[in-house]
Subunit: 100 residues, 2 copies
DNA sequence: TAATTAAGTTTATATTATAAACCAAATTAT
DNA sequence: ATAATTTGGTTTATAATATAAACTTAATTA
């Protein structure tokens, strides 16, 4: 068994949850992600910035009525990175033995 | 989709690799684990200590001929934790969509 | 108009990961 | 014989990371 390195950007609980939501949602608001993940706003803000800085997601700052609304979308690069991560971590999880 | 928390002890690349090796090997020597994981001895030593302190593995310090030899084995607690981790991280990986 | 809520961002702190430095004993080279 | 190197690790110093607390700005409600 060879262990492929795990993308450190994705190997973090909150960032992985964000990517997981976005990969099957085409877009999601900050507040929605916050509710789904139970993250604090500060933590979520930081992690979204990191994903954005890496080009894994696009962040659009808009308004919903009069209130600010941050919308996130996964990029192609982000999708590829996520798929590569899933592929890599399978090595660690003993997919065969554990019937993942 | 609910995101189960990921056991922080297992959600680390090297510790997860160690557990992955041990879950399908019933025992493994320090030097073997080191080779399989490409870890530095210092890092591996620290991470093995943490897994041991948590009761996830047992560590036996013995000799092989005249040289020291550290043998690791996974515990029942460790197996359970590993299985729970595999179960938990599935939520994040979009198993269905990604055909894991 | 004062207090509260909403939607975030910034920053300070605590935790964690990791490698460098170290140690003891065995082996090999001179 | 003894000096140098290798083996099999451990300890510890540092860098990186995660996270929540504190803060900001604007809108809403009392």
């Amino acid at each position: 068994m060879i262990f492929k390195p795990l993308d450190p950007l994705l190997h973090n609980e909150l960032r992985l949850a964000v990517m997981s939501l976005l990969i099957s949602a085409d877009e999601a608001e900050f507040t929605y992600i916050r509710k789904q993940t139970n993250a604090t706003a500060g933590n979520l803000s930081v992690q979204i910035d990191k994903l954005s800085a890496a080009g894994y997601i696009d962040v659009e700052k808009t308004f919903k009525g009069k209130r600010p609304c941050t919308i996130c979308r996964i990029t192609t690069k982000g999708q590829q990175a996520f798929e590569a991560y899933v592929d890599a971590i399978k090595n660690y999880l003993n997919v065969d033995k554990n019937g993942l």
